[in-house]
Amino acid sequence: MKWLSRLNERNLNDYLIISNTSMQKFFKHRLIIGGLCIGLWISGYMLICRPIVFNKPIFIYGMIGAFWVGYKIPYFYIKVKVKQKTEQVSADFPLWLSSLEVLILSNNIPNTLKKSLMTCPNSIKKDLQILVNKIEKDPMNQQSYIEFLSQYKLSDVNELMLDLYQFNYLDKSLMISEFAVLHKRLNAINTSNRQHSQEQNLFFIGAINSVPLFLLSIYILLIANMLSNTLMGG
């Protein structure tokens, strides 16, 4: 029954919210791509298998498999897109937050957030606009801060937003020392993001690096094959 759990798409609703896609549209895509995959399977089967017999188990299992693949493709597509967006937000958030320090020293928190709208990264602009609107109505509502970017489930973001909320009650003279603590955490997040992207880059380039030895083994194999053919042929 373990395979059945693979059908369960627990985070689908979150993915749909983040990617701004409606369930109806998503379901429509699933049916179209599932149908296309079945069509491909039937045409492939008709081309390869002669005589054409439709009541063979392989044909029926293949059709179910093709539909399952087609049904899953939109889910995996949306999952990859959301992952990319989450990584973008995770990289942009520390940069945006550290840029607030200068504004905080001369403004209160709601004004700081409002003013930062002009320069904030595109990946968080929409959510920031929502936060600013909420704060304008109720400046001291902690929930608004907690909900900011909460759909991405980034624990660092959540904690740092709560820290930012606490700044509402801080004296200006304490602000610099408190921000220094915040900076340490932001730097740690930045470093981790940077190292992650560097490792990814190196992995891809390292993969190309193994090409010479891979080519060599193929070359030797083919030479051996040709040599044996020449010997056999006399």
Binding site: E101, I176, N190, R194, I205, I208, N209, V211, Y219, I223
Partner: protein
């Protein structure tokens, strides 16, 4: 990238980076690569038609390799400019507490290496002297050297000019670019190791394939060398080795600094 296919375009692309490159230099490189390749092709008993095709591939790909080498030097210089600027400006601003004085002192540090940063700093000083606001003046530097640490440093300095106070000068310590600097250096070292490994692997592959061909008696191999199948296979083997080498060389000599960092 398609600009690199013509030698004049390669020349102007390299000159845009601030280096001199002549047609003679290009021909020298091409000559060396072609000679090496011809020797290897000859040793692998490749027919001249295939050897010519390999040389044609080198002619096509060499501009990318040459550009990548210059690009590496350029990016290294740029990275040093970033670090020197951040270090100097932080110290000078803490000492003089004025943007103009800090810029003047920092410009001195760039006088010797005649980099673009020196020109940008001089433009910024000029703008401040003409009465422009600090944001506009410092944008000369930010436009060419965009980086979150530089933006942060500039924001602090502008705030310091506007409201002053020791708090702002203390906050300059938050621009701790040292982690970023050491990360970039470590990453470049790793990339250099990968680059070296790629050269070793390519040479090793050529060496082993050569050994395989000469390991068996020549009487036996002579029939094999004349086969079109063998010729085509050896040609494709070298073709792919050249392409993989170019991909790794170009891929590793990309930008050192991400604008978002």
């Amino acid at each position: 990238m398609k600009n690199l296919f013509k030698i004049n375009r390669l020349k102007s692309s390299i000159e845009k980076l601030g280096y001199h490159y002549s047609v003679l230099d290009y021909l020298k490189s091409l000559g060396i690569y072609s000679l090496l390749l011809s020797a290897v092709a000859l040793a692998h008993k490749l027919k001249w038609q295939f050897a010519v095709l390999l040389i044609l591939t080198v002619i096509l790909l060499l501009p990318f390799i040459i550009y990548a080498q210059f690009s590496y030097t350029y990016e290294f210089q740029r990275f040093n400019d970033y670090c020197l600027y951040l270090k100097q400006m932080t110290i000078q601003y803490k000492t003089h507490k004025k943007i103009k004085s800090a810029l003047l002192q920092t410009a001195e540090a760039f006088k010797e290496n005649s980099s673009r940063m020196h020109t940008c700093i001089l433009k910024a000083i000029e703008d401040i002297e003409d009465g422009e606001n600090f944001e506009t003046a410092l944008s000369h530097i930010e436009d060419h050297y965009c980086n979150s640490y530089i933006l942060k440093l500039h924001s602090y300095m502008i705030l310091g000019e506007q409201i002053g106070g020791d708090n702002v000068y203390q906050a300059l310590n938050n621009v701790d670019f040292e982690d970023w600097q050491s990360d970039v250096i470590r990453f470049q070292k790793q990339k250099n190791n990968v680059k070296k490994t790629n050269i070793y692997f390519t040479l090793l592959s050529v060496g082993i394939s050569l050994f395989c061909l000469y390991m068996f008696p020549m009487d036996l191999m002579r029939n094999l060398f004349s086969l079109t199948q063998f010729q085509l296979m050896t040609f494709l083997y070298f073709e792919m080795l050249i392409i993989a080498y170019t991909l790794v060389t170009c891929g590793l000599n990309g930008k050192w600094i991400n604008r978002k960092e």
